[in-house]
């Protein structure tokens, strides 16, 4: 039997899963939309992963990361539950040990991680504002009536990207509508949009940070060739985009799961698992905490959100 490890990265927009072996080779991988329901998405993901998994493999560790990491961690009984920043750094360092800067733009958040000698020295994440992230791009793609996957190709066609306000999505959107109504060609608008994502990122997340080469660009948006092009242009440096750039978080957490072996063998049979959450408000004190109770096969496994620790 061959030992292998599952890493699941459940983001707001997409859910990513990989299974790696002891030498960090990817055995299977899957990428699906979360569609607002992380538990269902993970069930689907496991089915996809299982299909391609050779018979002689057994799962010896499971790790979860991403914004739904705690919930899915409980559901899969994961051995490691870690934030996405650490997971991304570890995943990247596994394949690119010399990397200095990680740029990451995901569905709802964007981050920058600075690394020196294999240790994170600084990072930043977008704060209150989700401007210039993947969800902004998909909503604009819908408005322009094209698939977000085609965005990059359109952007590369443009010779004259229009200027779009880069500070705030709301302004960017009204700028965009205006430019479209005035009659600018689609590819110029799309190229302008890609450029504004880069400027927005560098203004909001990358501010005050020293970006040194080698630089790697990850997250769903890294699949967009237009954004990559403008990153190269504006930073004046080469940008590495790995073919698995969108899976780096999942790989990182799988590597962590490998390092935290418990000896336990995990099953991927989740189809019949009943996993429920119940939300209610506690009125025992003026704080009125919003509580979430989590049931696994009708058994209460955890509850979150209480300030006093009563639940």
């Amino acid at each position: 039997m061959k030992d292998c490890y599952l890493g699941v990265d459940i983001g707001s927009i997409s859910t990513k899963g990989v299974i790696i072996d002891d030498n960090n080779n990817i055995i299977t991988k899957a990428y699906i939309w979360t569609e607002g329901n992380p538990t269902n998405a993970v069930k689907k993901l496991l089915e996809l992963l299982k299909k391609d998994l050779p018979q002689n493999c057994q799962i010896k560790g499971i790790g979860t990361t991403g914004s739904a990491r705690k919930l899915i961690g409980l559901m899969l009984k994961a051995s490691v539950v870690k934030n996405e920043i650490t997971a991304h750094a570890i995943g990247t360092l596994t394949f690119y040990p010399n990397i200095r800067t990680i740029l990451e733009i995901g569905g709802q958040d964007s981050k920058i991680i600075l690394i020196k000698n294999g240790i994170i020295t600084n990072y930043a994440m977008n704060t209150l504002c989700a401007a210039g992230t993947g969800s902004f791009l998909s909503s604009q793609a819908k408005r322009l009536g094209i698939d977000v996957e085609e965005f990059g190709d359109y952007a590369l066609k443009s010779k004259n990207p229009v200027k779009i306000a880069a500070r705030c999505t709301v302004f960017a959107e009204s700028d965009l509508v205006h430019k479209a109504q005035v009659g600018y060609p689609k590819e110029d608008i799309i190229a302008g949009l890609c450029k504004s994502v880069v400027l927005n990122y560098l203004n909001n997340v990358g501010k005050g940070k020293k970006i040194s080469s080698p630089i790697i660009f990850q997250g769903g948006v890294s699949k967009n060739k237009g954004v990559v092009k403008y990153f190269k242009e504006i930073l004046g440096a080469d940008i590495i985009v790995d073919e698995n750039s969108h899976l780096m978080g999942a790989i990182g957490i799988a590597v962590l799961a490998k390092k935290n072996k418990t000896g336990h063998t995990y099953s991927l049979e989740m189809k019949d698992l009943k996993f429920q959450t119940k939300a209610f408000e506690c009125h025992r004190c003026p704080n009125t905490c919003e509580l979430l109770k989590i049931y696994r096969n009708n058994e209460l496994v955890d509850s979150w959100g209480s300030k006093c620790g009563k639940y």
Partner: protein
């Protein structure tokens, strides 16, 4: 017998000990609003204007809680400490805002050192309003001030000792009314304590020392509390592992101080902006990865 209400927000965190010592010595009854809970915060959000910062909204919630539980509410106006040491405009106007919003008796004094209005004059004024004799007030003031000086010295000493501890040390920078507030900063502090971090607070240093040191970061600072905060950073920088800057949304002085600090210092730095609907999940991701980074333990 008159009862004075003290809202547990903004000024409270700067003057609580002086006030309570002063009132104790004069045998004046006072009540302090409870630690912030959801109900108080919601009340504050309801009565306030959308442009106010979260901390000011919170303050108004506390005033609302006290409004029918006491005879006076203590609302000073703190305007400046001379030599380019302004306070935030909220500290100037909060008296007027409270006066407009609530039908209550206010106990009030000004601190405006440019016009010679000192804390001493302020407390004397309060003593007089509450019908205390001059000699009594003098004694009470002296009592409160000597104790405050001792406390300041002690806090500074404790912070200095903490800098020598051999654990992972994080400097928490921010206004005390945010750091210590139950709904704004407490969760962050609790999380750090749970992870066995030695916490050093920026406000637990002697401002006379830190205020001056802020020049190392910038010479053009305008706000007193920004100077104190950045001075504390300059003071600790070489002895700590990381800095967490907590501010409330949308704090104007902090937006400036934060940008300055971010660019001028060379150690790991995390900025957390708290607004009224932040859930702890987002904060936890940032804190967890920040601690991972400080530990450098990527490969465990």
């Amino acid at each position: 017998m008159n009862t004075v209400g003290i809202p547990r927000s903004l000024f409270y965190y700067y003057y609580k000990d002086i006030w309570t010592d002063f009132f104790d010595s004069l045998k004046i009854k006072y009540i302090i609003s409870p630690v912030t809970n959801k109900e108080i915060m919601d009340k504050g959000l309801k009565v306030s204007n959308s442009e106010m910062c979260l901390s000011l909204k919170n303050y108004l919630g506390h005033v609302d809680y006290l409004k029918d539980k006491c005879d006076y509410i203590l609302v000073p106006r703190i305007s400046n400490f001379k030599n380019n040491n302004q306070t935030c405009t909220n500290f100037w106007v909060v008296y007027d805002i409270v006066k407009n919003l609530f039908d209550v008796n206010l106990l009030h004094y000004n601190i405006d050192l440019e016009k010679g209005q000192t804390l001493k004059k302020g407390l004397y004024k309060i003593g007089k309003t509450l019908n205390k004799k001059h000699s009594q007030i003098k004694k009470a003031y002296k009592y409160a001030i000597t104790r405050e000086k001792k406390r300041l010295k002690k806090n500074h000493q404790i912070s200095q000792n903490k800098l020598k501890v051999k654990k992972t040390k994080i400097l928490i920078v921010g206004h005390p009314y945010n750091i210590y507030d139950e709904l704004i900063g407490k969760d962050i502090i609790k999380y750090l304590i749970k992870n066995k971090i030695e916490i050093i607070y920026s406000d637990k240093f002697n401002p006379k020392i830190t205020n001056h040191l802020s020049k190392e970061i910038s010479k053009d600072l305008y706000f007193k509390y920004s100077k104190d905060n950045l001075g504390a950073i300059a003071y600790c920088q070489d002895h700590i592992n990381g800095i967490i800057f907590i501010s409330s949304f949308p704090c104007a002085p902090d937006s400036l101080a934060n940008e300055l600090a971010m660019r001028k210092i060379n150690i790991p730095y995390l900025n957390l902006v708290i607004d009224d609907n932040s859930s702890f999940t987002g904060l936890e991701t940032r804190l967890e990865s920040f601690l991972d980074m400080l530990g450098g333990k990527l490969n465990d």
